[in-house]
């Protein structure tokens, strides 16, 4: 149990900057997800914490003490890899006991610990089996057990479920979350799957091109993305090109929205970001034509074409009736405005009033 800090950490591979000046604090007992598309530097970050890659600059601290001088075998971290994780020539018990044997623990104590940790991950009968006799999910559980048995201060998980099928993946991440809560271990979890991150993380660090975009709780990331990338990457989002008119007014398609305080040059390019559930049918709204209706059972996804605003996506309850080709009018209940890549700050959470239509187009 410990806190983890990355302080201005950078790492290049040749000409490619994999991680750029990242500063991140993971609190004691927290489950932090590193989320981003492949190649964003999240795995490099994890491997730097584990000691497999050295940063070019910056410091990594556990409980306030720098671990930069320590090789992987001496860091208080334990890693669960994506795959090819267990040593095939050892039994499950052998795999788990390997680290304990290196610490010269008495044989009886090793046996007890192996038994306890196997019970913890729900595989009490697997001690004498070989990895190839286990299913993919069972192998990953053993890998988690192998990491936990050493009572590390930080648990590192590198896309541990990406090779499992969808059902098992959902099941395993619930198990890991429960296990993590139960023992309260500080955990860093790398994934490219935003749903996985949103369901298990206490906080999520979103990365892109080696740059930390935003660190926040799942709810805050969804509601208040700070960059255009996060807005687009987390959940579904309609991005509509917009332009400043008369200093305080934003024109996006047929919508006219009042901008928050701040003086903007006329004609400045902005981006209006609207969640599909924040598009509301309203006779006062902007015109659009229904292109396609996708029935997803518990809700409907409606694809719209709006003149000036382009294609839009709208989520609605299953009771609403839409026909393809139908003309509708939609209003924005709540929106975010981005100037370049970053959000236009309102001095607090975005208020729905900001995006209320003030004028019909």
């Amino acid at each position: 149990m410990a806190s983890l800090s990355l302080v201005h950490v950078s790492r290049r591979f040749g000409a490619q900057a994999a991680v750029r000046d990242v500063t991140l604090d993971v609190r004691n007992g927290e489950l932090m997800c590193l989320l981003g598309p492949s190649g964003c530097g999240k795995t490099t970050m994890l491997r730097m914490i584990g000691g497999f890659i050295m940063p070019d600059a910056g410091d990594i601290q556990i409980e306030g003490r720098s671990v930069m001088a320590l090789p992987p075998e001496r860091r208080p971290t334990a890693m669960v890899f994506q795959r090819y994780n267990l040593w095939p020539h050892m039994t499950v018990a052998g795999n788990i006991a390997f680290g304990l044997r290196l610490r010269h623990l008495p044989r009886a104590e090793i046996e007890t610990k192996v038994r306890q940790v196997l019970a913890l991950v729900g595989l009490p009968g697997a001690a004498q089996k070989y990895p190839h006799q286990l299913s993919g999910g069972e192998q990953q559980r053993v890998a988690v057990a192998r990491a936990l048995v050493l009572a590390p201060q930080i648990l590192l998980l590198d896309e541990p479920f990406s090779n499992l099928d969808a059902r098992l993946r959902v099941h395993m991440r619930e198990e890991v979350k429960q296990l993590q809560r139960q023992i309260g271990i500080t955990t860093v979890f790398v994934t490219h799957d935003q749903e996985e991150a949103l369901t298990i993380a206490d906080r999520i660090a979103v990365m892109k091109d080696g740059i930390l975009q935003q660190v926040d709780t799942p709810a805050a990331l969804y509601a208040r993305p700070q960059t255009l990338f996060v807005a687009d990457f987390i959940g579904a989002m309609n991005l509509v090109p917009a332009r400043v008119e008369a200093g305080q007014m934003l024109a996006a398609g047929a919508w006219r929205l009042r901008l928050p305080s701040g003086v903007w040059a006329d004609g400045a390019e902005m981006t209006l970001a609207v969640r599909p559930e924040d598009l509301i049918l309203d006779p006062q709204g902007a015109p659009a034509r229904v292109r396609r209706v996708i029935n997803l059972g518990h809700y409907r996804q409606v694809l719209l074409d709006s003149p000036g605003a382009g294609p839009l996506r709208l989520f609605t309850g299953k009771e609403a009736a839409f026909a393809e080709g139908q003309e509708v009018r939609v209003r924005v209940a709540r929106a975010l405005v981005f100037h370049g890549a970053s959000v236009v700050e309102v001095g607090g959470p975005m208020r729905p009033a900001v995006a209320a239509p003030v004028e019909r187009g």
């Binding site: 497999f52 075998e73 890693m79 890899f81 090819y84 994780n85 267990l86 020539h89 390997f98 890998a143």
Partner: protein, 284 residues
Amino acid sequence: MSLSAAPAAAGGAPWYWAIGGLRRALGLGAFLALAAFILGPLLTLLVWAFAGAWLFPNLLPEFSLKWWYYVLGNADVDKAIRMSFLSAPIATLFSAVICIPAAYAFARLEFPGRRVLLLSFLCANAFPKIGLYVSIATLFYHLNLMDTFAGVVLIQVVNTILFMIWIPTGTFRGINRNLEEAARDVGAGPLRTFFHITLPIAVPGLIVAALFAFLAAFDEAQGTLIVGTPNHITMPVMMYTLVLSYAQPVGAVFSVLLSLPSLVFLLLAQRYLRAGYLAAGYSL
């Protein structure tokens, strides 16, 4: 060629290919011809090795072990057998000790000239060896290695290097780095990781490499002839003398003796001789 009848027929194959029975008969015929071509000489060899008197009307000679007594009772032959079974394992072991760490470096480290160096081990096998041996012999004269046991072992090692570098390099490269990193992660240092994780996982590939290396060392004749004569003669070198100056069955008996180790090793190691390990050695 497709094995199923339908695409073969559709693809314009000869008419008889469409008839299953005929196709199988042709296949079997080809197989038997190949088997006869490969096994025929070996069978003749076996017959000769156990032949006593072989007179005109008899299809087979009368069974006799007299040539075996003759060969095994010969002091020179005895000495050659002992020399072979001593030098080949030592050469294999020596080769393993120097080549396996090198193979690990080739597999895991990126250093300038890696590919060129890896290809350079082919050199010894790419040109007629007799020239190489003659120049090695000049070197050995200066080093006082001519007609010594160490000289014979060294010349055999030259023949094993290709197998002992290439196959283990492929084997090590086939082992996922995560397995080694996981060991480092739970507290094993680099050496402990190599001996407890990497090496045991690589064992099948290393056995295959050692097998090839042993056979290469055991069968080596040219270099040993040049470096080892007159007092350090191995079985393949002895073979030249035997074939030239003794009765035919003597050569046959000796050939059987010479092929026994290969046969025994192939049987022992057959479960490791999977295509994957062999192919793995030849990817640069």
